[in-house]
Amino acid sequence: MSLATYIARRLGLAVITLFGVVVAAFLLTRMLPGNPAYVKAGPYAKPEQIRAIERQMGLDKPLPVQFWNYFTNLLKGDMGVSWSTSHPVREDLIQRLPATVELSTAAFVLAVTVGLTLGVVAAVKQGSVIDQAVHLISVSGASVALFWLGLMLIYVFYYKLGLVLDPMGRLSPLMNAPPGPTGLLVIDTLIHGSFDQFRSALGHLVLPTVSLTIVLAPTVAKMARTAMLEVLQSDYIQTARAIGLSTARLAWQDALPNAMIPILTTMGIVLAYLLAGNVLVETLFAWPGIGFYAWNALLSNDFDAIQGFVLLIAILCVSINLIIDLLYSVVDPRIRLG
């Protein structure tokens, strides 16, 4: 199969999945025991008011018609209106996305760096104290509740030691966010040359990033170790060892590239976990991203906003999986032939 055919087929599959995701997101709100109009009208509404809201929301029409309306609106980029912020959900999400991207990117980069290093070292020094420590860390990291870990970090590093800034939001209360261009405060503040704000932005980023990293890095480490062990046992590595190449060169240059496929898979899992874990971390640290927005929507039964958030997360996950699948064939050309 040529690369073009492979990409086309993979894209087609992603489109089908995306359509299914939209159907699932639509059906999600239609599982309601009553219907959204009851919730929207509030507990003291008269029956005729509820009818009016049903008509206004199009809930009096048959289900397929409702879906068609929802779907065509979605294609136009209309995800409905959040009634707690009274803005279109799309605008709300776009406005809050940079905060989430900033936090997720920082956590992803840190988790992958730490995880890969631990995993490779553990594999090279198989059975040593380091290896055993990595094993213990990876089981522990997979067992800890993210929000509890965040609480412990706040307690120790903010309340007890006073080493970090107040764990609320992205900047200190009296500071204004710089106007663009990226929406990532750590970068924007540097562009505008305001170093006080830069320090504040970085200071607020530390604890949420570290919380996510502690939970995620062990997963990467575990996978990297397994993949590396397999490669390290192969003949060409034994040969390279016999020739006398240094262990460091052997591990990082010769073995790691061939261990990349399972590691890529893990990166996909890590990204998906980041998207889910964001809700908890952003809620705990009042980080004004889409996860925090979703939490506020949950508290106020803001269904359009919840639906929009869930849909956005699923779209992101499908895209990530697509990109990773395409990367497989870059890393290992044999895959697209299969």
């Binding site: 999945t17 159907v23 067992s143 509740a145 999986n321």
Partner: protein, 292 residues
């Protein structure tokens, strides 16, 4: 030179085998620790609530925010409720939820996966596409959306998380079924005139569930984490119910205060319980791999 090189290689192999043994020992220790944790958890969930002299919901205005002491082992919270009583009642609730979630996902997922793999064709394609779609959502987000829509109750939490985990079991069992149905004993059963459904149920299904069992042990831990996560967001299980996530969330209000025991112990309980299930799953996986 050549001789030393050879010697070094051999030496290296011996060393590596010895070192592998080191990790083996650690794994063994971890397994016993995890087993101890799981057994302890189950025992305290079953018996402890009856042995603790306090009620989990009983408030006591005269004993608010008491530090851990002989009377209150893990202190009291902002309403003077005994933390230890709440912890062990929560253990019972969280275990019931966790086992129900996994039971639901395991039963439904294995059945659907086995049939899908056995029947093949259009049915299989359809089931796999649906699994794809459900797995496009991170499990926690799917459970969150479903709980938000279904409403807060223990049953709905079980339903939501269980549904979110089902695709994992569908996929695993289907994969095994594709292997197993080509085995000679499957042919033998068919040649002997055994009906397809009987073959599926008695001959093939029992040989498909091993990977799902490992997954189930892992999922028991995830279910505790996800239930607590939902509760922390104010979804599913709500105050004043004694549940670990609810308790951490309650205690988090005192994070900038001296009452560390209100949020520390419930989170520790989650950690120990999930660690136990993860350790057991790890050992099961190692054993399954060795048999293969």
């Amino acid at each position: 030179m050549a001789t030393t090189g050879l010697l070094q290689t051999r030496d290296h192999r011996v060393r590596s085998r010895l070192l592998q043994g080191g990790r083996q020992v650690l794994r063994q220790k971890l397994f016993y620790l995890s087993l101890f944790l799981v057994v302890g958890l189950v025992l305290s969930a079953v018996f402890a609530p009856a042995l603790v002299p306090y009620q989990p919901l009983k408030t006591n205005p005269e004993a608010v925010f008491q530090a851990p002491s002989r009377a209150h082992w893990f202190g009291t919270d902002q309403y003077g409720r005994d933390m230890f009583a709440r912890l062990v009642h929560a253990a019972r609730l969280d275990l019931i939820i966790s086992f129900s979630v996994v039971g639901l996902a395991f039963a439904l997922g294995s059945l659907v996966g086995a049939i899908s793999g056995f029947v093949g064709g259009l049915v299989d394609d359809l089931v796999m596409r649906i699994a794809d779609i459900l797995q496009s959502f991170p499990a926690f987000i799917l459970a969150m959306g479903m709980t938000a829509v279904l409403g807060n109750s223990i049953g709905n939490v079980i339903l939501a998380i269980g549904a979110a985990y089902t695709p994992y079991f569908v996929r695993l069992t289907r994969g095994e079924m594709l292997k197993v149905r080509q085995m000679e004993y499957a042919d033998a059963a068919r040649c002997a005139g055994v009906s397809p459904w009987r073959t599926l149920y008695y001959h093939l299904l029992p040989n498909c569930i091993t990977p799902s069992l490992v997954q189930a042990a892992l999922a028991l831990g995830w279910a505790i984490l996800d239930t607590a996560g939902l509760a922390f967001l104010g979804l599913g299980i709500c105050p004043p119910t004694a549940e670990w996530g609810v308790m951490v969330s309650d205690g988090a209000k005192n994070i900038l205060g001296v009452e560390w025991w209100t949020w520390f112990f419930p989170g520790l309980a989650i950690f120990l319980a999930v660690f136990g299930f993860n350790g057991v799953a790890e050992m099961l996986r190692a054993r399954v791999l060795r048999e293969e």
